[in-house]
Amino acid sequence: MAHQAHAYHMVDPSPWPLTGATAALLMTSGLAIWFHFHSLSLLYLGLTLLLLTMIQWWRDIIREGTFQGHHTPPVQKGLRYGMILFITSEVFFFLGFFWAFYHSSLAPTPELGGCWPPTGINPLDPFEVPLLNTAVLLASGVTVTWAHHSLMEGNRKEAIQALTLTIILGFYFTALQAMEYYEAPFTIADGVYGTTFFVATGFHGLHVIIGSTFLTICLLRQIQYHFTSEHHFGFEAAAWYWHFVDVVWLFLYVSIYWWGS
């Protein structure tokens, strides 16, 4: 019987990196085909393959870590570094859109009327739904921390409650934001104001949906006894991601919704 003489995880061969790369190719070429020839088939194929890749790859990671014990402390450390680096890359992603916003809004051109908001734009009142959205996300940051503490204290029932509440708040934010998008008096096509507003808040909304999904998976895993009071990195990663989403919103709120009105 051969055993490894180290604490690291030598992963078994897996098809998911290849299917993921194939999905990336199908999505990029699919996008180009859609632009030029109006067909969405390739894009849909790529998205389906992406979804299947993510489900199966992460399912396998859960099997390797939770059921097979491969996530030793050094392995977990590597996973922590990985999540932190990923979130850092996302910070830079959003930094670009904030750069675009400030570039256009700090020195508004004559075409806009030399002012910000540009002539003809009626921005949303920052003290209405946007303020509620801020409260919702801040509250969800509290509930996810409550869930973490419950988890660490071995309090199963409260961990489930707090995590459920966090997810509900996430969905509430998404619903409110969707309504705001529908009711807004301006669109993405309304000059650079519309562009910066909807691209920045739109990508943020996408990240809220991703974060909510991640938290939901954690809830299902918690219900199925995957987490222990000492070892629950999947949950921690989801919580870090959720806090990141919250912080991005705070910057969006202060810059675009409040200062930008």
Partner: protein
Amino acid sequence: MMAEDIQAKLKNYKTAPFDARFPNQNQTRNCFQNYLDFHRCTKVLTAKGADTTPCEWFRRVYKSLCPISWINKWNDQLEEGTFPGKI
């Protein structure tokens, strides 16, 4: 007294002088601001029924600085009621 100063300044006008509000190479805002200021000045003084000669300074400056196509475009917009600046 101020009227004589304005007349003197206008008589000695050669081109737009250095404006410390716009110190850099990109003078777009200098042009736009003077165009706005001319029209705002004219609007306010005609509303009071006063002499609009002081506004001449702004007109000279924007005429010196602005590309003619910009002036024409903005004048057309003013006529149409679609000029985006606040006058």
